[in-house]
Symmetry: C2
Subunit: 225 residues, 2 copies
Amino acid sequence: MAAPFNYEILDLTDEQVDAEVAVFGALTDAVRRLNQATLRTTVDHETVEDVRRQVDELATRLEKSMIPDNFGVSFTKGGRIRGYGNAVVGLRNPNAVPVKVVQDKVNGRATAEFELNALHEGPPGQVHGGVVALVLDQVFGEAAAAGGVPGMTGTLTLRYSLSTPLGPCSAAAWVDRRDGIKTIVKGELRRADGTVTVTAEGVFILPKWAREQLAERGEAPPQYE
Amino acid sequence: MAAPFNYEILDLTDEQVDAEVAVFGALTDAVRRLNQATLRTTVDHETVEDVRRQVDELATRLEKSMIPDNFGVSFTKGGRIRGYGNAVVGLRNPNAVPVKVVQDKVNGRATAEFELNALHEGPPGQVHGGVVALVLDQVFGEAAAAGGVPGMTGTLTLRYSLSTPLGPCSAAAWVDRRDGIKTIVKGELRRADGTVTVTAEGVFILPKWAREQLAERGEAPPQYE
């Protein structure tokens, strides 16, 4: 696996990045649709087996040329950031919800509106508690970054007050205060009717090993955006 | 969406359940492979577009007959549980890691070994903090159930002490104590070398609305298994 923060600077033009965003974004969306159809289909077993064989063939075609392991994060000379693999927001990650997080750097705040579906189920009809944590962790990290102090999750505490039905949801997080190398972020998840169902507090910190590694290279901490 | 705990009792034989486990399990595994190939492929854009068209066709075939929304949980007359949609452990959910959780009912403990890959990335080369929370929430809930007191996450507190590289991981959770309708669960995540990287504590509780709904029907709380 690539070393943390060992990112590449790529010689790609904005046009090339736009093209890969379009082409791979469309593939990822199609595969997301297939993910949901795989879970919800009631077609006969013969059809399922035939589809499975064809899915295997398509995977084989894509695997003919692949990066060796994880996607990592790379930057272009023009300043574009290619964090396509991120488990929550990654453009090329079909498992990513997807969530589009909006950072407000003036107020150290991050917000996101997104749709949770059958793939995100825990208790029947409801969002899995872990999926709530998954999304909030990302939104919280981006709030810390929007506040000017990017870091990694040190602690995260979630309070589940009400159920969150599958469907449209929104999340918001904001920098509550700073304490040395710690950034304390607070935030919440709202269900479709606007009711807050989960509140959370996180402490974000750039860990010692990462600060040392960056200092050795004379680099600043990366931004989350 | 289905009402919480509004589960069906299906008239399926064990052989029918075994057959659907085999057929849909294989499709789900193939789609998981496609998910990873979608993220990691470096084939040319023309091939990607062709694959995308074919993925769309396969989705259309599966969508010809589908359940209307989420999968929910159903039971067979023989006592088999079909919670195939679960976001962490669901047999038919291609987004599920997958994690196979082993419940130890004697000691109120749950454990899981699993592999996290490029689809679970946060910081370059490392497991996304939210994915850690996603998996632990499930393992913690199953520990509460193994301890005889199933419930939903009330609070979950995670402490990220060390980085967790992508690769083989394990999780363990156990009932620490009970306090009225609350079950306090503690647990941890270990990376491949056996080092604990994340510790967590959760309070599990069957919420009031769920207890009322079950009482109205004269039903006992469902088991997580």
